[in-house]
Every structure is written in structure tokens, then in C-alpha cells.
């Protein structure tokens, strides 16, 4: 049966809702630093039992240190092999020609994903690490770019992945050197897009997409994904390039966090530092240029 509340009860519940709604909106309007502080306080207090269950304490970290070190060595080897294969012949010569200094080695911190939150506002990974991590740095896996660190607490780090609506990555096509901004759109959650791109933008199916090094977060040359297609907006004559990420969504377990700010770059030198990255496109019969 439907219950009938008195007018006074209805009014009081309306006032309570109004107060809560105004409080929520006021919280939304506060600076992001304050919201992060509130979020961090809630995480530390309310989620304490969850942290203990998931083993975010220092003891559990020590027990996993050996695995992390092995994974770190493996990834370093893969990165080194990739670099040797792809850069020894062409990029070093190009660098000498343009007078560029060799890029500094990245210092990586191993991390292990212990939690994942994913809904349509974006994917966030919770990872434990060995220390020396700061917010606003790249997170990479052997396959390619994973995302960026956004918040660091003792032994823990929050990572917004490529599938997060707040993340935008300055990228470059490894073959044509076309530059653009890669984003995830929750309205089209299966793919990442470079949007908008002028209609004459030179992208081909299979082109590796790398970080350009522009900006202060992502070092240059990290494989982000490969071009899989494009859509043309007939009204604006602008293209939207669809990119399949190199890492699989939801599959990342071990990853590495870049420790230092990437060196300044003009985007003119590129050294892919992930498995399968190549500065030249893979052989595609006919080399189809995207023309939707």
C-alpha cells in the first residue's frame, strides 16, 4: 500500500534534500585540490579495512618485492630490445644530423595493480609501489602507455588510465609525424580518438601512435596504440582518428611509473619504448591512406 506522509513530513524531507543537494553542489564547486584532500581523508579513514584486506601495508609490499624486481628487469629488457631494434639504424643518425642529444634513460618504479574502479566516467587503477613516485607522471606497461599518476599516498598510487575522460595525451603518428591530442570519449567507450584532425591529416591504418613528449607528463616515444580507422564529419570537414590502444583495458596487472619529469622536447625525435612499436608503419599492402 502507498503510505501518505503528512505535509509537515514532506516539507521537512524537502528541506533535508535541499540542504544535501546544496552541500553536494558546493562540494563540486570547490577547487580540485580541496576535493582531492577530502577524498584522501575519506580513503584513509573509511577504507582502512579494505586497505588491510588488500594488503597495502608495507609488509605485503616486501613480500612482493622480488616479483616486482623480476618484472622490472623483464620490462627493462623489452624496452632495451625495442630501442635497439628500432633506433640503432635511423634515429641515432637523425639525432646526430639535427644536433639533438640522446634522450636520457627513464627511471621507472615498479608497481602492482591492486584495485580497479571503472564506470562511464573513467577507469582508475589503484597500485602499490616501492616509493619515489609523484603525481602527474606517466604509467607504462611493457605493451605501452597505461595512463598517469594523479594521487600518491604511502605505498599507493592512483592512476587515471587512457580510458578516463580527464586524460588527454599529446601524440604523434610515428610514420607521418602528424601531431594531435588523444582522448577517450565516454560516449564512444570502445576506442580512443584523435579529434579533430584536418581532412588532409596523414594517418594510415596500422600507423603506430606514440607520445609526442609535448607537455609535462608523458615522455616522448611511448607507444600508445595503432590507428584503426577514421570518420569524416561532412559538416566541418574534420576527421576523427580512431586508435586501438596498445594495452588492453582491464588487463594491466604490473606496470611501471616514470619517476622524473620528461626532458623538454620539440616532438621531433621519437624512440618507441614499448613492445611492438615501430617508427615506420607495419607493411600494409597498398598502404591505404585513411580517407573516409
Amino acid at each position: 500500500m502507498a503510505s501518505h506522509a503528512s505535509p509537515r513530513a514532506v516539507r521537512s524531507s524537502f528541506l533535508l534534500w535541499l540542504a544535501c543537494a546544496v552541500g553536494s553542489i558546493a562540494l563540486l564547486a570547490t577547487p580540485i585540490e580541496m576535493r582531492r584532500a577530502v577524498s584522501g581523508a575519506l580513503e584513509w579513514s573509511v577504507f582502512l579495512p579494505a586497505r588491510l584486506v588488500l594488503g597495502w601495508g608495507g609488509r605485503s609490499l616486501l613480500t612482493r618485492l622480488e616479483n616486482q624486481q623480476l618484472s622490472e628487469e623483464l620490462t627493462y629488457d623489452r624496452l632495451r630490445v625495442s630501442r635497439l631494434e628500432e633506433t640503432a639504424r635511423e634515429n641515432e643518425a637523425l639525432r646526430r644530423m639535427v644536433g639533438m642529444t640522446a634522450r636520457a634513460e627513464l627511471r621507472l618504479v615498479p608497481a602492482r595493480v591492486v584495485g580497479r574502479s571503472a564506470d562511464w566516467s573513467g577507469e582508475v587503477l589503484w597500485a602499490e609501489h616501492g616509493g619515489g613516485v609523484v603525481p602527474g607522471r606517466a604509467a607504462v606497461a611493457p605493451d605501452g602507455l597505461v595512463g598517469r599518476t594523479v594521487r600518491v599516498a604511502e605505498g599507493r598510487v592512483w592512476i587515471e588510465t587512457l580510458w578516463h575522460r580527464r586524460l588527454a595525451v599529446s601524440v604523434v603518428d610515428a610514420r607521418s609525424r602528424e601531431q594531435g591530442i588523444l582522448r577517450w570519449n565516454p560516449a564512444d567507450p570502445e576506442e580512443l580518438t584523435i579529434d579533430p584532425v584536418p581532412v588532409q591529416g596523414d594517418y594510415r591504418v596500422g600507423d603506430p601512435i606514440l607520445t609526442s613528449g609535448l607537455g609535462e607528463i608523458f615522455p616522448e616515444g611511448i607507444l600508445v596504440g595503432h590507428v584503426v580507422g577514421a570518420d569524416l564529419n561532412p559538416r566541418t570537414q574534420l576527421k576523427r582518428i580512431r586508435v586501438r590502444p596498445a594495452v588492453s583495458r582491464g588487463d594491466t596487472r604490473e606496470l611501471f611509473l616514470v619517476r622524473e619529469r620528461p626532458p623538454a622536447s620539440d616532438g621531433s625525435t621519437l624512440t618507441p619504448i614499448a613492445r611492438g612499436a615501430s617508427p615506420t608503419p607495419p607493411p600494409i599492402p597498398g598502404g591505404p591512406r585513411i580517407a573516409p
Partner: protein, 167 residues
């Protein structure tokens, strides 16, 4: 009252754990049932608007911990959900399970629409695409999955008015 508070805390923990552990595993094309909204709905039916609205506010803050840029948005959506549920329960007989499941779908859709509206930056085209791709499927999935789930967990929340109706 003490027993109710214990149940409340346990259920809150279960919902937060569900979002992290089980939610992504049972997601269909990325869409997972919104247990938090369903919990606020049930709490409102069981204990009235005051518990529902405050519960929505608190639970909303907790689930937004890993999205600090949207901190407060789920609170806004869920306390609104609780208020609308309380008003609707005055006019509609939610003792009927099918009607209650339908009402759950509607109020979850309302809450998801509020979130979609805010996160789309009030751009109609973006809002519509998010609403079709995420909000509507989430509401439908919740309206189907939650009644099945609570049929298995009957009595944990003490929501007898709804759960025991028709049985």
C-alpha cells in the same frame, strides 16, 4: 537500532567492495548495475526519506573517492533519488515487486541522468550520447539484477515492507 546500524555498515562495505571486485566482472559492455543507487532506494523505502537522503549523501561521497574531480556528484544524484523515491512511495504502492523494480529503474535513470548532465558539461549532444550509451543501460541492468540479488539476500537490510510483499 544497533542491529540496523551494523546491517547498514556491512551493506555499505559490501556495495563498495562490489564496485571494485565484482562490478567490472559482471559488466556488460562496460555497464554494471548500480548497487549504490539501489541501496539508497531500498533504504528510503525501509526507513523513510531522512535515512535515504543522508544515506545517499554519505554513500555518494564514498563512491566518489576514486573520482575526486566529481566528488559530490553521486551525493547529489543519490540524495535526489532518495527524495524522489520517498515522494513516489507516498503515491504508488511499491509493495508490488514488479512495480518496485520498475520504480527502481526509473529513479536510477534519474540519478544517472543527473550525473550524465553534469559530466557532459551541459552539452545536449554529449549528454544524449552518454545517456543512451550508459545511463539507460545502467538503469535497466540495475532494475533487473538488483531484485534478483536481493531475493538472494532477503532480510539483510531489514527492508521487509518491500521484500516481503507478495511472498
Amino acid at each position: 537500532m544497533v542491529l540496523f546500524l551494523v546491517r547498514l555498515l556491512l551493506t555499505t562495505w559490501a556495495i563498495l567492495a562490489f564496485r571494485l571486485v565484482l562490478g567490472p566482472k559482471i559488466a556488460i559492455a562496460g555497464v554494471q548495475p548500480d548497487l549504490g543507487a539501489a541501496f539508497v532506494f531500498l533504504l528510503t523505502l525501509a526507513r523513510g526519506p531522512t535515512y535515504g537522503i543522508i544515506g545517499g549523501l554519505v554513500l555518494g561521497l564514498l563512491v566518489d573517492v576514486d573520482h575526486p574531480d566529481a566528488l559530490g556528484l553521486s551525493s547529489l544524484a543519490w540524495c535526489t533519488l532518495a527524495y524522489v523515491t520517498a515522494r513516489a512511495s507516498n503515491a504508488v504502492d511499491l509493495g508490488d515487486r514488479i512495480l518496485a523494480a520498475g520504480m527502481l529503474t526509473v529513479v536510477v535513470l534519474l540519478a544517472e541522468s543527473i550525473r550524465a548532465l553534469a559530466l557532459s558539461g551541459f552539452q545536449p549532444a554529449t549528454f544524449l550520447s552518454i545517456w543512451v550509451r550508459w545511463s539507460l543501460p545502467t538503469a535497466v541492468y540495475t532494475g533487473i539484477a538488483v531484485p534478483i540479488l536481493i531475493a538472494c539476500l532477503r532480510g539483510v537490510l531489514g527492508t521487509r515492507r518491500w521484500l516481503d510483499a507478495g511472498s
